[in-house]
Point group: C2
Chain length 427, copies 2
């Protein structure tokens, strides 16, 4: 489909807001702005972009989509009570069809709030892959590995097979990584086996690191190391690594993350809700560490809306660092788009609106009372917009969501399935 978005304000690369048309052909941006190419482009379908701001689709760098079944299930609890008494027992009852429907629900929420790529860590990821394939969204899928249980090696084999088989599936919209869950669930011997497979199959690593004070204390007791140093010494960072959380970091940790070019997924609302702590994101950025946003799972947030995540994350850094200039709006948008793409290894394909890139585009309708007046559109994106200000979501050049309508998902059926399954799971 040759698609043209007409007369739209758009974020052009890192060059700021431009006005013009965006032309899309074969899933990519073939031209943008106001020039001979855009003028001569003959579209099969045109979208009126007046009053809209076009942005690269938002990139959620860390979530557990299948956890929609735990949204609002057990809030305001201490972390271990939440996990041990509520989340894990419910998760133990999840079957692979539950994961399929739950992931579809999460994808619906993400598309409707402007997320075009998400990074998932969960299980039954082949069924999550099916949901990604059918829905048209883009995803980095990682099957979580726990090394404490019997059968861990068989599980590793299964996730390696998954990572190999699904790499590049869904017309290239699926990318895979290996996902050791965390230092406290993956002993060094198991980690080494995972890293061997990562080496052999050229797979990046996605891992939770330095999320809670308990984790810091446990690793100090067992290894006399921080989680970051533990990962460094095991050789994790010899592979491309996406490290989720990174809340508790010492000065050496910051240096390691910079030197090893580790990508960090910042999950402010989950870290706040579970009282995990405040990640030193302003300091990481100052050092030049690459940081993207993640919503974490819907059980600990309880939302997949990247707009509220970006706002909360920016405001939290300002107050924690006592500096209102930290994480300015332009940087926050960059973290939610180009930098997020970069830490997923997708920086050359997505994350900005420019000729040749994949057409993952969202349109925000700015003609709203809560967005009036407009001085700086990027300030509105961060401080005033909510997920529902997204009018249109395009992935790979295909319209997936427009004005409340889902084009690839039977959302009434998905809600019905999730409600029915929730009754069984929580019963």
């Amino acid at each position: 489909m040759r698609l043209k978005i007409k007369n739209v304000d758009f974020l052009h690369g890192e060059k700021g807001i431009k006005k013009g048309d965006i032309c899309i052909e074969n899933g990519r941006i073939s031209a943008c702005g106001n020039n001979n190419e855009t003028q001569s482009f003959s579209a099969e379908k045109e979208i009126d972009g007046v009053n809209c701001l076009a942005l690269p689709g938002l990139i959620n760098c860390h979530t557990h989509a299948g956890m929609v079944y735990t949204r609002g299930f057990a809030d305001d609890k201490p972390l271990m009570t939440w996990l041990e008494d509520y989340i894990w027992p419910l998760e133990g009852r999840l079957n692979s069809e539950d994961i399929y429907w739950g992931t579809l629900l999460a994808i619906s929420e993400m598309l409707a709030s402007g997320t075009t790529t998400f990074t998932d860590m969960y299980f039954a990821m082949d069924r999550a892959g099916k949901a990604v394939e059918e829905s048209g969204i883009r995803a980095v899928l990682t099957w979580g590995l726990i090394g404490l249980q019997p059968g861990a090696e068989a599980q590793l084999k299964k996730t390696v097979d998954f990572a190999r088989n699904w790499q590049g599936q869904a017309d290239g919209r699926i990318k895979t990584m290996l996902a050791p869950h965390a230092p406290y669930t993956c002993p060094p011997s198991f980690m080494k086996k995972i890293l061997e497979q990562a080496e052999k199959n050229d797979l990046p690593i996605h891992i939770h690191l330095a999320e809670t004070r308990d984790e810091i204390d446990q690793l100090a007791r067992e290894f006399e190391k921080s989680p970051i140093k533990w990962a460094l010494d095991l050789g994790v960072f010899e592979h491309k690594t996406l490290a989720a959380h990174c809340v508790h970091l010492n000065d050496e940790d910051l240096d390691i993350l910079k030197e090893k070019d580790v990508g960090v997924a910042y999950n402010p609302q989950s870290n706040m809700k579970l009282a995990s702590g405040i990640a030193p994101i302003a300091r990481l950025l100052e050092k030049g560490v690459r940081v993207g946003f993640g919503t974490d799972g819907p059980g600990s947030n309880n939302s997949l809306d990247m707009f509220t995540e970006m706002k909360a994350g920016a405001l939290l850094q300002k107050v924690a660092s006592k500096n209102s200039q930290n994480l300015p709006a332009g940087m926050v948008v960059k973290m939610g788009t180009a930098m997020g793409a970069d830490i997923l290894g997708l920086g050359s394909e997505i994350g900005s609106l420019q000729k040749g890139k994949k057409a993952d585009i969202i349109l925000l309708n700015l003609d709203k009372v809560h967005l009036t007046p407009v001085f700086d559109p990027l300030a509105h994106v961060v401080y005033s917009c909510r997920g529902n200000d997204v009018q249109t979501t395009i992935v790979d050049g295909t319209i997936l969501y427009d004005k409340g309508e889902f084009y690839t998902i039977d959302v009434e059926k998905v809600k019905w399935e999730v409600r029915n399954r929730t009754a069984r799971l929580s019963g």
Copy 2:
């Protein structure tokens, strides 16, 4: 109009969620639940409440509505640069018609996101009063007083006249207070004159207190006191007092606020965005101090959406106090409704859904992907809802907003006026 909301889940007083009908007559709730009264009630208009949650309208305890003209005007700046180089020069150009249209825009935003009562501190408050009157919303209006300029006494006389004339106007929907801006703008001699007028006219006090570290330092230098002690010693707290911010408090301050039963307006997003600090709300609540939520003005937030305010405020307390159990969802909803009403002196009239109270009611449509599944509706209100999940807003028994339509405000004209005036103000 005899109005009936049918088959709705509703928050019944402090008794939790009930199912039934809500009957409204002469602006008040005449019956609710499922009983002889609700069954025999003959309505002129019925609203289908299926899939909805009815809550008391949200109460924004501290804002500056007219500041919509500064929304997104100058973000990510140090506080004094923001004020001195951007906000004050623009505000100096505001005329009273700007205030009228700006307040109408802010009211539109608030109605559409479920706020039925707001507390305003700004100037040209008679024009703000006109906007409240026409729009049908409920408001506590306070005309800000600065004692540093010549003409302060004439200004005091004007605001006292305003407070007397507008008390109880708009069918009782308007309440007034006197509003000394802050300790650093109102010297003790001027404060004494304000308090004399408060005494004489039986008016409560609305004041910014202990917002920034600079204010703490300045009062320590000038008076060797904290702002709270300064206010106590001047006799401010002998009057009913609404204290906005209360970010920097020592132990004695906490005791004073409790003993004097001062109402605190917690403005988490503004305090974060301006890097003012984190108010010790969990400790205040533990002591039994009454706390409501405020959005502060649209220049320092940049939103009037009480849902994002409640979420950010709850999460911030959890992480700051390192306790995920602090500010649980039920308490947050109470702060946003009944406790907010109470600190405005309106607790007997609004803030909860029960027979005899004014019918200030909002309906949230929970049939959304991002609100699926539903375990605990109040957890959804705090952690998953956004302002736009509000389907219907009713104040004083009158529907003011329903499914995107404003019944009392020509919102296209209001946006047009604000945009035009913004061009002049920022030009």
